[in-house]
Symmetry: C2
């Protein structure tokens, strides 16, 4: 099946907004195995939009469009698509009543423009929109083709596509309507090529579910995807493949789907009733910030120390002046002392400390930009490591924070820290 | 003049990358006063790409394309555009020699595929690429039309467009080649509508330079833009308008162009030889992180305190237990004590402290989610404020950090804090 994407909106042609719907819909259709050969963007102009829809419908089986379904005179997509599909517009009393109720609840009068949102091309399927006023529409066209109209705001488009359009498309492709079921495994402390090596045979067999790795800053994600009648059925098909992956590289999986590393680390600490603390030089508060991004983080985090200067390292964390003088602020000796000092000052169970050269200045031949020392202290335990990171100042700070969080995770899990 | 945008790349049709070039080019062309009626995306397929270029060239004066200029067999844009413009491809010895030298420097053999990057349509203008191997091209076409080919990576496309394509386009529009000169004024402590009100007459006259406001999280930006033969000429035209704006609302301008608020605050502190410190509860390190995002921030920042728990507020900052018990952690009394405590512990010149309910849980009728108290302490001075913010946990934390940085700025400038 060939699908074509059409985006309607002068704001896209003026560069006022970034077309994230284009990437989202393309990615979703690729996962469904539907070919997309063209994307087009056109403004809020009736004649030009009609020409675009006509061309798209001629060369594709399904045209999926977003934008231009609102109540203003600029919103022409409904009328254009109806004309191209050859369907008259009719007032849908149910939608009209819902719109009136929506306005009544807000104590406002419904304008005649708003009533246009209740016009439905004859024979079209209405896709309810639980996040906005503009419903989506599936218009039947000749030769078994279809035009699918979706609202422009991603927050309305995405759930409508996943819950209402995917089953329609899979039914069109033959067989029962299927949904796309995906599960993402999130890895830390393993590189993309190392992961691919470990799973080479599984990835190569590329059966059902499909397995696709994605490299992220300091992490790798693996997406498992399949098509199924229900989410349960899909997940049941994914489960044995996930288990096979976990049998090989499970120790590096910190979470699934949308779980962030800081969330996973926070959960681990909470489960074990542990408190963490941070002593940050080059990251300047970023590790504490990430730990507290997670709601409820007060259960595992009380104190954080940002000790940017040597003076702060000495005063707040008790790092000896001689250690700083002898080894320099970016050294394993100093981060060991920082971590031990933070552990004691906060009365925490585990402390992580970082000191490094984030750049762009401050590097030397011996310690170039990107040199980062990380230390972890617990009651009976101090570990330190030196890393050589790369990229911009921001990259280096981000990767340092990720390494520090990963180190807490390894400690809590009893892995080699 | 009508321009049309064409993006070549199967990776766009698969949703593997976000098409940021579409927004960038559309925005730049709008600033130049050039109409864009259509954008098209097509994959690395010769026939389909040819059809897209042909249609674009028929209905527009200039076709601007990006992607598909690389060395692999997939990279078809050069050949397709040459065919549509009716120009034979010829080997450009200069480009070929440069490519050979590029490979020789890296000790690698140049493949025949790479040599394709030295093919130039007859009569085309070559646009040197100082950030990659693929040069851009301007192909003359019949009826005075043109096809402009640019590399896909934004880091290569943007400087090439600004330095080499804009002068070509402005010359095409008649007259001498002009560049687009813009200057952005960045405002804090003033809302978009308040700013528009203050500048109503200036914005309404909409002369040259044009004035366009943009609302950002917690800030407003105002972009002044004009076309001129040189950057100096453009800036000279912008200067009196900027001065007129500064005369009215200059106290709210914290910086220009790409200066961030944390950069501006850091500069102010450095100029005056002041050290700042932070005491953070709900932001959990974000304010310190932002201050240290800026290279060289060690000149104005030594210590930061993340005191997430009451215990930490008492131990690190000396907040009295009674103050916490009597007023609660989110109170002006507590942030005043936090700021005073941080000031003393860090030996700093100015301290900012925040405590609030970032949500999603923890709100009460009296102190709903989004209630944030901010305190500022200096030698002879303590100020506190209570804010009611809105949005997600992240929004509330971001806005709180922005308010705290703005408060430091007002203090240093001697404004009403």
């Amino acid at each position: 099946m060939k699908a074509e994407l059409v985006f309607v909106g002068t704001e896209l042609l003026l560069g006022e907004i970034l077309n994230t719907n284009a990437q989202y819909l393309s990615e979703q259709l690729a996962l469904l195995g539907i070919d997309v050969y063209y994307q087009q963007v056109v403004g809020d102009n009736y004649d030009r939009a009609r020409a675009v829809f006509k061309q798209a419908l001629e060369r594709s089986d399904v045209v999926i469009a977003s934008g231009g379904l609102g109540p203003t005179m600029d919103d022409i997509t409904r009328e254009v698509a109806a004309e191209v599909a050859g369907l008259p517009l009719e007032l849908d009393r149910t939608i009209e009543a819902e719109l009136r109720a929506w306005f009544a609840r807000r104590g406002r009068e419904m304008s005649e423009n708003n009533a246009r949102q209740a016009l439905v091309p004859r024979g079209a399927t209405v896709l309810p929109n639980d996040r906005g006023t503009a419903p989506g529409l599936i218009l039947p066209a000749s030769q078994g083709k279809a035009i699918i109209l979706l609202p422009g705001p991603p927050i309305e488009l995405r759930p409508m596509f996943e819950r209402q359009v995917v089953p329609f498309l899979t039914a069109r492709m033959g067989g029962a309507p299927l949904s796309l079921v995906t599960r993402t495994l999130r890895f830390i402390d393993i590189g993309e090529s190392q992961l691919e090596d470990a799973l080479k045979d599984l990835i190569a067999s590329q059966g059902d579910p499909s397995i696709a790795p994605y490299a992220k800053t300091g992490e790798v994600h693996l997406r498992l995807a399949t098509k199924a009648a229900t989410s349960e059925e899909g997940l049941a098909r994914i489960a044995p493949v996930e288990q096979a992956i976990r049998d090989r590289v499970g120790r590096h999986i910190y979470g699934t789907n949308n779980t962030s590393l800081e969330q996973a680390v926070g959960e681990l600490l909470k489960e074990r009733g542990l408190k963490a603390t941070t002593a940050e030089s080059c990251t300047g508060g970023l590790i504490a910030k990430r730990l507290t991004d997670v709601p409820g983080s007060s259960a595992c985090f009380d104190f954080g120390f940002v000790t940017y200067s040597n003076d702060a390292k000495m005063k707040l964390l008790g790092v000896p002046a001689e250690t700083l003088a002898q080894h320099g602020a970016v050294s394993e000796e100093v981060v060991a002392a920082m971590a031990a000092g933070a552990l004691a000052a906060a009365g925490a169970d585990v402390a992580v400390a970082v000191s490094g050269i984030a750049g762009p200045d401050g590097g030397t031949t011996e310690k170039p930009v990107g040199t980062v020392c990380i230390g972890l202290a617990a009651k009976d335990h101090i570990t330190t490591r030196t890393l050589q990171l790369w990229g911009s100042r921001q990259d280096i700070r981000d990767r340092t924070a990720t390494h520090a969080l990963a180190m807490i995770r390894r400690y809590v899990l009893g892995h080699h820290v």
